[in-house]
Structure formats: C-alpha cells, structure tokens
C-alpha cells in the first residue's frame, strides 16, 4: 500500500544520498552536494515522522545537524562526521527493511484499534492530551538546551515537570508507550535533581532523543487516537534510559512502573508499611516560593473541586462523569504534591486514586460512609496545605494517622455492596424494570440540564497585576473627566472637541466595565462551600436540612466575594443552628421533617442581593427585648418599637440570646461583626422574621467598590458627592411648602408627603450661600426607606467617579464614605446618606 510506495521512495533517496556523500568526501561540488543532501534528509525526516518510522526520523535529524555543521566550518573533524553520516545511511537502510515489516503489522493493529468507538469524552480528553503534549514538548527542546548551558535546579525541575505531566495524562488515557518512556525519563531527571553534576553530554543526547520520540508518539496519537505501533522503539528507548539510570544509581534495582497502575489488592493495602503520625513537608525550601505559591493556590482549587464533586457523588453513586473528573483532580493533586516533595500527601492521594479506580471498574460500590471518609481525608490535606508557609522549612501537622486513613478506605474496598435502590424495589414487586429505566432516563436528562458546564478558557493572572490595571483605569477615568469637564475648554464650545471627548468617554466607560468584569467571578464556588458547610452542620446536629441555592452563576468582584464569605458562613450557621428546629419539634409544630434553608443571589440594579432564608423557629421577640433591656439598648418607649426596630438589636455588639455557647455560635460576637463587614463593603443587611415561620436575611452589596455614579452638590465652599442611587429628586422649595416646628425642626411638604430638612452646612460648620431654604435647593435622598431632604446651595452635576478612601491616617469619619477627585483637581467628599440620617435622628430623639 502507500507505505510500500514510501519505502521505495526512501530507497531511492538513500541511493542518491550515498553518491552525494561520496562527492562531499572527494570535495566535488562540495557546497551543492551538501545542500542537496540536507534537502533529501529533510524529506526523509518528514516521511519518517508521517509514518512513525522513528529511526528514519531521528537518523535524518542527526545527519542534518552534522551536514549543517560541516557546511559552516572547514573542520578537521569533517572526515569523522562524514563517516557518521555513512553510518546513519546504513542504519536507515537496515531499519527500512525491518520497518516495512512492522508497518504492515502495525496497520493490522491500527485497524483493529480504530474500530473502537471513541466516545466524545475520550476524544475530548485525547485532544487536550495532544495540545498539552505539543506545548510541553516544544518547550522541552529549549529547556534541554538551557539545561546544557546553565545546569541549575530550576531548569531540571521544569524538565522533570514536563515529563511528569505527560506521564500523568498518558497514564489516564492508557497510552502505555508514552507512559513508560516518560516514567523512565522522569526517574533520570530525578537523579539529576539530586545531583546536577552527574549530567553528561550523552545524557543530553538521550534527553533529546526521548523528546523526539515523544513528539513522534504524540503525532501518532493525533492521527490515530492511540500511541500504539511503536512499542519496540519505546522498549529500546526505555532500556537505554534505564541503563543510564542503573549506571548512575549503581544499583541493580530497576524502578518499575508507578504503583497506580497496579491493580490494588485490598488486603495488601491494610498490611502495607505506612509510616505513622505526622505529615512531613520536607524540602519546601528547596523549591522556590513562586512554585510553592502556585502549588498552594492550584491545590486549594483542586481540593475545592474535589469537595464539590464528592458532594455530587453523594447524591448519585453511579455518576460516572463525576468519578472521572474526581479521579483526574486527585491524580493532579497527587502529581503536584509529589513534585513538591510532599510524599505523604502523594501517598494518601495514591490510595484514594486506587479506591476510585476500583469504583470505576466496578470492583467497589460507593457508599455514604466512604464519601464521608474521603471528605474527611481531603479536609485534612487541605488544612495541611493551608499551613504551608513557603518560607518555612518543615511544617508538621497532626493528622489522622495515614494508617488509619488507608485502613478505613481498605475496609470499604471489596466490602458489601449497597444495593441499588432500583433493584430492591423491583424485587419487592413495587415497580417494574421498565418504570425504573424510564425514571433513570429522566434523572439523567435532568442532570445534563442542570450541569451547566460553561467551558471557559482560563488563564491564571497574578492579582497584583490586576490591581494595577484596575487602578490605572480608575486614574484614566479621573483624568478623562478632568479634560472633558475643563471649564475653560467648555467655554470655548468647540464642536469637534465635544464630539471627540464624548467618544473618549464612551470608550473609557467600556474599558472600565471590562476591567471590572475581569475581577468578577461567579458565586458558584462560594455557594458550593456553603453546601458543604450545611451538610456538615446538619450531620453534627442530627437535623435534616434541605439546602437549596439559586443564582450561583451571578458574578461578583472577587475581593468582595472573599469579604462576604465569613458573614455568609455566620448567617448560615445561625440558620442551621438556631433557626431550624430539630425533627421532633418540627413534627410537633406540623412542619415538614426536613428543615429548609435557601441561599439566593440576584442582581438588583447596581447591587447584588443575597438572601438567606430558613423556615425555622424565627427570631424570638420576647428574648430579644429582654436582652436589649438588660444591656440598656432601649431608648425611648417600648411601644414605639416596631418589629423591624426590635430585630435590629441583634446587630448590637455583645448581643446574643443563646443560652448555650456551642462551638458553632452563641458567643455574641457574630452579628455585629457581620453587619460591620457588610457595611465596610458599602452594603447593608436587613432582617425579617415571623415566629415559627422562619427568618430571612437580606444582604445588599454594591457591585463594585471602586466606581460610583454621584451627584455633585455644593454647600458653601465645599463640594459633596451623593451616590445617585440615594437621590430621589431635587427641587427648589416654595415658601408655602415649608413649615417650622417649635423645636426648630424644618419640614417640607412635597406633593402629599412630609420630609425633614437637614441643613448640611450646619452639620459641617460651613458658611452657606443661602440661609433661607427657599433660596437654595432641596435634595430628597433615601436610605433604607428613610427619606430626608438635604439643603444645599447648588447642584453641580452628575459624574461617574473613582472612589478613593479617606486615607487610613484620617480613619473613619462619620457621615463620609470616601473622597473623589473633581474635574478641577479639587477633592469632593462622598456623603454617607444613611449615616447622616441616623445621627440626625438620634440627635433629635
């Protein structure tokens, strides 16, 4: 077939080459002959790679290099080189005969393989293997080159990592040739990691050879979805590598392949020699802090995913997709940990990997116990990783003895099968097999729909770079405002300038939107953690809690997500601990046995609304009033307090009506901290509750801390900014709308409503332009359903601005939430509407 054609083409070329080489030797048409030879060898090389003829490929490569060298230099070694080229040609001829036979054999094998149905998932996996493999191997040449020039540990590590990653991926896809070769290469690199001086030039050749061969294998995979067909070459390379390893090690022991691949015998696991007690993190100091940082962040991500998937598995033991994903994550974690020298983590992961493998091959059925154990184990690993300080050398943590972990897992490998519910039902005659299958199909469908897999191409970015970008965009906006609002230019009314500046404004706004969205991530991650939290809480307390989440795709600024994590945890704990009653009480009240807690996120204008709802006992009014009295929080008459006011007391510092301080809550330091944290984000928190019906907490948080739309107001010489969202309207009052009470309180009647007037110049001790209300302007503002009118001299205009803090040195000033740069270079103070109204009301009370 086509290969035979190629073999004759190869033969022809090699004949030509022989004559060309003899020309070179005799110095006949030297230059031309060299050029032609190079061309022919390049063609041979192409044929070699296209047909997976490794020998052809590598020998041609070698010769091309030699020919280039001869061309450039008049070398005394030329004779030697030409001899080598002769040798190469001979090798090619020899192997040509061999390989034609092999190609025929392989074709048969390949045909059989191709008949395998590759499902979409495998194809996708293989595709990612190919692209990642290409990337890794193309870098490899450069890295090996670097290794030659500057043999430093960084480079060795990089090369090691490349081989290791390839090995991992290959192992997962059962690409045995790749796996075996990379395994040997890895081992060799490991030796160099220990002692870099052991490297020799031959080693470099070996590494280049390995890389070339791997490239060939990857190419094979891309054409045939398998790496089969080069087994003999692989074996050859493997033995070369292991020879060298043996040399260096000086031992007879050959490494053998990863334990992962062996089928684990459950009994063996229990008996295996495992070192006791502590997880030791050795040699972290050897890897640089950059790598450690990356490892920590990657591992924590992986652990989060693992958690999420374990919870999914808990609800459906047969979810093969999730098992696959889980396996991959555990495997990566294992690999990375191994790289960092965290042998213990690696070994635990390996044990778990084995378990998952058994689940995959259906030698073991999952159960709730197993999942709980796995969750526990990963918690331990997570804690351990979180304590890694990349500056510390060795960190010891107390953990569940590794033996215990393996023992527990071993217990479940090969033990009783948890009968599938469906089978049991059929046995009982309750349903027919048909119905079960129908139901299962519907389940599958639903699962597919709910698992909205948003395939995104992600890239890791250093957050300091993002912050810098963010700041610069902010400054750009400020300066843009300064230019376009420059009063002198405005006076000139230049049409072309106005046009251009409005385009500039459009673009800068869009730029700002895009940069804000970069920092936005979906709340999904956070919500998933909450799922885990509720699950643990419900188990601890013995209460059955139904936890539903909605709106997890809602995006928020990453920094803000971090800041609301603690408040959310606290509120959910309260809901589970204090809100939801235990089963007995619920049944007695006529409620469902299971408590319901829900977490919802949705956009509301420029803010995000997060609602935490439970259908538990609700807040206890009497208890709260009692406590408030005790602590002296109640000012004024009891009867005047609305429910809303009563609920507000729980946010006072030191407030807690819990009789027993559990480990989880009741210490009375929670709610006021929650409120403070939310307010720091310029958000607010609201409570609603009904006895025996439940409690609802509403958190409102602005989408971004940095930018704000404000209205600029002038009071005397100072310019204040009020967030647009707080402003309802502004107007010039008529005298007849104004009333003054005996206490001196000014009130204005707008349509049919009455509003108090706050003179800002009094609040801030300024000299206003106008004393009489009817001469100035009233701005109706709202905060938390409280409406008031601010009296100002003038409204300057609207502006979108970057919010700047008031400098830590000044600290918190009541009534102000920040400052901004005005278009004339001055500074405007941003008013805290709610704060001002509160103080004003307190004063008047």
């Amino acid at each position: 077939m086509s290969n035979k054609k190629f073999s004759s083409a190869i033969k022809k070329k090699s004949e030509k080459l022989k004559s060309l080489i003899s020309n070179i030797k005799e110095k006949k048409d030297r230059e031309k002959s060299i050029e032609e030879s190079i061309k022919l060898f390049q063609q041979l090389q192409k044929i070699g790679s296209a047909n997976s003829i490794k020998v052809l490929y590598s020998e041609s490569q070698k010769t091309i290099n030699l020919l280039n060298f001869i061309n450039d230099n008049d070398d005394p070694l030329e004779k030697e080189f030409l001899k080598e080229i002769d040798e190469s040609l001979k090798t090619i001829d020899n192997s040509l005969d061999k390989s034609t036979k092999e190609i025929e054999k392989n074709e048969q094998v390949q045909e059989i393989d191709k008949k395998d149905e590759f499902d979409e998932d495998s194809k996708e996996l293989i595709n990612s293997f190919i692209s990642e493999g290409d990337d890794l191997l193309s870098d490899m040449d450069v890295n090996i080159g670097n290794f030659d020039e500057n043999p430093d540990p960084e480079t060795v590590n990089t090369i090691f990592r490349c081989f290791h990653s390839l090995k991992g991926m290959a192992g997962f896809l059962n690409f045995n040739s790749v796996r075996e070769v990379t395994h040997e290469a890895e081992t060799l690199l490991d030796i160099f990691r220990e002692d870099i001086s052991l490297k020799t030039d031959n080693d470099l050749d070996l590494l280049y050879e390995t890389t070339d061969f791997l490239k060939l294998l990857v190419k094979n995979v891309s054409t045939n979805y398998t790496d089969k067909g080069l087994e003999s070459e692989a074996k050859e390379l493997v033995s070369k590598l292991s020879e060298r390893i043996k040399q260096l090690k000086g031992t007879e022991e050959s490494e053998g392949i990863d334990l992962t691949e062996k089928k684990s015998d459950p009994v063996e696991l229990q008996k295996s020699d495992i070192e006791p007690a502590e997880l030791e993190f050795d040699d972290i100091s050897e890897s640089n802090p950059e790598m450690t940082k990356q490892y920590i962040s990657e591992s924590l991500d992986q652990l989060e995913n693992i958690d999420k998937n374990l919870l999914i598995l808990e609800n459906d033991f047969s979810d093969k997709e999730t098992i696959k994903v889980l396996f991959r994550d555990v495997h990566s974690l294992k690999g990375n940990s191994g790289l960092m020298g965290l042998v213990d983590v690696e070994e635990v992961c390996m044990t778990i990997e084995n378990l998952l493998n058994d689940v995959r091959s259906e030698q073991l059925k999952l159960s709730a116990k197993i999942i709980t154990t796995l969750l526990k184990d990963f918690d331990i690993i997570k804690k351990a990783i979180e304590t890694i300080d990349h500056k510390e050398k060795i960190i010891k943590i107390e953990i569940l003895e590794k033996e215990e972990i393996s023992h527990e897992i071993g217990q479940y490998i090969g033990t009783a099968k948890s009968d599938l519910l469906g089978d049991v039902l059929v046995e009982m005659g309750a349903t027919s097999k048909k119905d079960i299958n129908k139901a299962l199909k519907i389940q599958e469908r639903k699962k597919e729909l709910t698992q909205a897999k948003i395939k995104r191409k992600d890239i890791r970015v250093d957050t300091t770079k993002l912050d810098k970008l963010f700041n610069l965009v902010g400054e750009l906006l400020t300066i843009e405002a300064m230019i376009t609002n420059n009063s002198d230019i405005k006076k000139l009314q230049i049409q072309s300038f106005i046009k251009s500046s409005s385009m500039l404004n459009k673009i800068t706004r869009e730029l700002q939107e895009v940069t804000t969205s970069i920092r936005m991530t979906p709340l999904e991650g956070l919500f998933n953690r909450m799922k885990r939290l509720i699950r643990d809480l419900s188990r601890k307390s013995g209460k059955k809690i139904n936890f539903s989440i909605k709106g997890q795709e809602t995006e928020m600024d990453k920094n803000i997500i971090q800041d609301i994590t603690d408040p959310l945890i606290h509120l959910l704990r309260n809901a589970a601990d204090h809100g939801v009653e235990d089963q007995k009480t619920r049944e007695a009240k006529g409620k469902s046995k299971e408590g319901n807690v829900s977490l919802v996120a949705e956009y509301e204008g420029n803010e995000i609304l997060i609602i935490i709802k439970d259908d538990g006992a609700g807040l206890n009014k009497e208890k709260i009033l009692k406590k408030a009295k005790e602590k002296g929080f109640i000012k004024g008459k009891l009867e005047n307090l609305s429910d809303k006011d009563i609920w507000k007391f729980i946010f006072e510092p030191g407030f807690s009506t819990a009789k027993v301080i559990s480990e989880v809550s009741g210490r009375g330091v929670g709610m006021d901290v929650v409120k403070k944290n939310i307010e720091k984000l310029r958000g607010n928190i609201d409570v609603e509750s009904k006895k025996n019906k439940g409690t609802t907490f509403k958190l409102k948080i602005p989408l971004t801390l940095a930018m704000m739309d404000v209205m600029l107001l002038r009071v005397g010489p100072t310019i204040y900014a009020v967030p647009i969202t707080s402003i309802k309207e502004n107007f010039k009052p008529l005298k007849k709308m104004l009333t003054v009470t005996m206490d001196g309180q000014e009130v204005v009647k707008l349509r049919d409503e009455l509003f108090s007037v706050i003179r800002l110049h009094e609040q801030y001790n300024l000299n206003p332009d106008y004393e009489k209300l009817e001469d100035g302007i009233l701005v109706l503002v709202e905060a938390h359903e409280k409406k008031v009118c601010f009296f100002v001299d003038e409204i300057i205009g609207q502006q979108q601005t970057v919010v700047k803090g008031l400098s830590e040195y000044i600290g918190n000033v009541h009534g102000l939430t920040g400052s901004m740069i005005l278009s004339d270079g001055g500074i405007g103070l941003i008013l805290d509407v709610e704060g001002i109204i509160e103080t004003y009301q307190k004063k008047s009370n």
Binding site: E475, T478, I479, T718, Q763, Y764, N765, K804, G805, L806, S807, E808, Y809, I810, V813, H814, G815, L816, S819, I821, G825, G826, I827, G828, L829
Partner: protein, 162 residues
C-alpha cells in the same frame, strides 16, 4: 566586589541625610528616607470631625493625601499660609501624610556623633516628638521622630481634664 561597595555607599548616604525646615524661630530636621515629596502650599479640602491639626486632604497627582499643620501639632500659634509655606510629604508605615511647615531650608548631613539625645527635663508633651538634637556648625537642628509626630496620642489634653 566594587558593585557591593557602591551599593553600601548609597545606603549610607541616605542614612545620615536630613531635610531641614524652619518653623517659628527654630530649625527642625527629618530623616530624608521618609520624605517622598516637597510641594508648595495648595488647596486643602477640610474634613469634618478630625483633630485640629489635621487640616484636611490634598490631591497629589490623583492621590488623596491628608495634611497636618505642624505648628498646631506642637500646639503653637497658627500662622497664615504664605508663598513660602511648604508641604513635606512623608511616607511611613505605608501611609503618606503631608506636613505643613513655614519654610523648607536644605538637605544636610548630620553624623550620628553630632547628635545629642533629646532633653529629658522640661515639658514632656512636646519632647516626645524629638528624636535628637543635631549640632550643625553653630546652630542646632531639632531632629523629629516622624512616627511619633504623626501617630502619638495627645495625652496632655486628658491630663488637663482630670
């Protein structure tokens, strides 16, 4: 090698240099390593509910920086700002603050052996701002401790109340 020596020299040169300024008849000095800018007096936006000596904030190239009047900090009589009045911007503990002074003089080298410890007798409240007394030629420059200048609480006021 020579490179290291050079760097050592650089660090040393920063170490003994002080920026001197004039305030109400006396000369003061602050270590130059804290000074990041010197600007002329400009528009200050007042912030309510702050200490008297905190005059407000200024816009320094897009950054909002608080400024304090050093005279008021020393509880001296306030003086009107003229065209000689300067703001020395210092950066300490990652906070930038501006110091309003009457007049900025020059940068001097004051060697450690020329610095006497602060006078221990007399009024306590103002001396805690003093790091040392620097002798330069015939004159004495009062070397200020910037950290204390910015962050030290006013205890005197409480004493007066009790």
């Amino acid at each position: 090698m020579s490179n290291d020596e050079f760097y050592e020299e650089e660090e040393d040169t920063l170490l003994n240099k002080y920026l001197t300024f004039h305030l109400a008849e006396e000369d003061y000095a602050v270590a130059i390593e804290f000074v990041i800018d010197i600007i002329g007096i400009q528009r200050i936006t007042n912030i309510p509910d702050t200490e008297k000596f905190v005059k407000g904030v200024i816009n320094l190239r897009g950054k909002v920086i608080p400024v304090i009047d050093v005279r008021l900090r020393f509880r001296m009589k306030e003086k009107e700002y003229g065209n000689r009045t300067c703001i020395i911007i210092v950066n300490i503990k990652e906070t930038a603050v501006g110091l309003i002074v009457d007049q900025v003089s020059e940068v001097l080298d004051i060697m450690p052996d020329k610095i006497d410890p602060p006078p221990t007798t007399g009024k306590k409240t103002k001396s805690k701002f003093i790091q040392g007394m620097g002798k330069v030629g015939d004159s004495v420059k009062i070397i200020l401790n910037i950290e204390k200048l910015l962050f030290e609480e006013e205890i005197e006021s409480l004493k007066e109340i009790s």
